[in-house]
């Protein structure tokens, strides 16, 4: 057997992680303990498979090793002597078997996603647990993605699992009536995970491509599990169309480049093609929703030959629709930008005045950044400089602060 590469092994393990976990939880219950056991099996596999090759039945290998860990764990728990019988029962069933067909493998992964995105958890915990249990990342990897110590992340994950356990949620697909709500929660977690990677609210680099790529991988998986769901397709399209710009949004010296100034030849055409096809198909075949509309807006940018050639009228119409079906002050703010681009900066400023008092935007740097840009377009340079400075004070992002200060300086 030839030695597999590190990336081959890691890619395979990440694909198999939710499958192995699904098998274990269905057999033995105890999501909490099974998730720990699979995590240990994954860590064991990294070393063994790289040195000795990938086993013939990799998933069965993982299931067998994880089952063994689960038994060890239960054994070690002396306080639970009454479970000796359960151990004997488990041991009988843990013999490695060839990869038996698992008819409900898809359902398992979907069930895991729903479980990890449990509404009782905070968004940060939902993301962390999803990355570990479904994404197959180690605690150390999840911790480094969020720049927190590994023990802090380990605590967050075990706390999240305890909350799921306490909620009494069972390992099964939610009933038909609840499924739409649950899927919406899963999409929200994927969206936040992507944004965390894309805007990197706590990263050492401008973009932590890893986390955004992982969000795309998991959303792609969700899209395969629920192909008829238009909003999941819309979310995947939105991610692909946004991620396509990643190489163009940072200069060689690390400065932020706004979309109007980006070198469009650096945009990833393959991701754009895939995103466009997804959003077009979803809009034509499924009930319309906010992710599809945001993807449609990203598509207008992706298809524009230049910043000047952008179809702002269409973007304005899409934001109008978005505001109606999913009211949100950020959409209103973005719509004000579109109004400025179509009807001029004064019209944009008038629109901005309507949302200034919105508490949800209070203290947010973006409203000042948008105002600054409109004042600049209107030729009010001192006003623009003051607004750029106000925005610079409010942001906690260093590249953004540098960008805003540099705009203030040239006004």
């Amino acid at each position: 057997m030839t030695q597999p590469g590190v990336q081959d092994v890691e890619g395979l393990l990440r694909r198999l992680a939710p499958q192995a976990l699904g098998v274990l939880v269905r057999r033995y219950g105890q999501f909490d303990a099974c998730e720990d056991a699979v995590q240990e099996a994954l860590l064991a596999a990294v070393g063994q498979w790289q040195n000795h090759g990938i086993p013939e039945h990799p998933r069965s290998w993982l299931v067998a090793v994880a089952t063994r860990r689960l038994i060890d764990e239960i054994r070690a728990d002396r306080a639970r002597r009454a479970r000796e019988d359960a151990v004997a029962d488990l041991e009988e069933r843990c013999q490695p078997a060839p990869d038996e067909p698992e008819p409900s493998e898809h359902d398992d992964t979907l069930t895991l996603l729903v479980l990890c995105c449990h509404p009782a958890l905070t968004p940060a915990s939902q993301i962390a647990l999803t990355l570990r249990a479904v994404g197959g990342l180690t605690t150390a990897e999840v911790a480094s993605a969020f720049l927190v110590p590994e023990r802090a992340m380990a605590q967050r994950i075990s706390r999240a699992k305890r909350m799921i356990k306490a909620s009494g949620m069972r390992f099964e697909l939610p009933p038909e009536g609840e499924r739409a709500d649950r899927l919406r929660a899963v999409r929200q977690v994927m969206y936040l995970m992507f944004n965390e990677g894309y805007t990197a609210s706590s990263g050492s680099q401008l973009q932590r491509v890893e986390l955004a790529a992982e969000a795309i991988r998991l959303t792609r998986m969700l899209h395969r599990l629920a192909p008829a769901d238009g909003e999941t397709a819309g979310l995947l399209a939105l991610m692909l169309l946004t991620h396509a710009r990643r190489a163009a949004r940072v200069s060689a010296d690390g400065a932020l480049i706004m979309i109007a100034d980006q070198d469009r030849s650096l945009w990833d055409q393959r991701a754009i093609t895939e995103g466009l096809a997804l959003v077009e198909h979803a809009l034509a075949s499924a009930a319309i929703g906010p992710y599809q509309l945001q993807a449609a807006i990203a598509a207008v940018h992706a298809e524009a030959p230049s910043a000047e050639g952008t179809d702002w009228r269409q973007i304005l119409a899409l934001y109008g629709l978005l505001e109606r079906i999913a009211p949100n002050p950020m959409f209103t703010l973005n719509r004000a930008v579109a109004i400025a681009m179509v009807h001029g900066p004064r019209a944009g400023l008038a629109e901005l005045a309507k949302i200034e008092g919105d508490e949800r935007l209070a203290g947010h740097h973006r409203i000042e950044a948008v105002r600054a840009h409109m004042l600049e377009l209107a030729g009010d340079r001192p006003g623009a400089a003051a607004a750029y400075r106000a925005a610079a004070q409010l942001t906690t992002s260093l590249p953004e602060r540098r960008y805003l200060e540099s705009r203030a300086a040239v006004m």
Partner: protein, 121 residues
């Protein structure tokens, strides 16, 4: 979102912490730290030695000028910090309010800058 919680002391708080009431205050702090560790919000933190040991350094005309003591004489001085990663500024403020120094001197909550970029629109 990460926040630094700056812990301020004054002459009286030092006496409090090292006096007869110090044990109870120490236990209060330990309990809060344990709670933050268990919730996964605690990123780090340190306590600083007495301000009498401070050295201030200024470089003027390429020459470092070192003086003993803090930059500015003030009733309250910086005594240590915590770094927490939590869901909101409100949560960081709640944690600060539970640190004993908030009762005797003051706490400051400040967001930590990050290297992430914003939206490119």
């Amino acid at each position: 979102m990460k926040y630094m919680l700056l812990i301020y002391d004054n002459a009286d708080t030092r006496e409090l912490f090292f006096g007869p009431e110090g044990k109870a205050l120490g236990e209060e702090i330990e309990a809060l730290m344990a709670e933050l560790a268990a919730s996964g919000e605690l990123v780090g933190g340190e306590a600083l030695a007495d301000p009498a040991q401070t050295r201030s350094i200024r470089v003027r005309d390429d020459m470092p000028v070192v003086t003993d003591g803090p930059l500015a004489e003030a009733k309250e001085h910086f005594g240590g910090y915590l770094i927490v990663d939590c869901d909101s500024a409100q949560r960081a403020t709640e944690i600060a309010a539970r640190w004993p120094n908030a009762r005797f001197a003051a706490m400051e909550v400040r967001p930590i800058m990050n290297s992430g970029g914003g939206q490119d629109l």
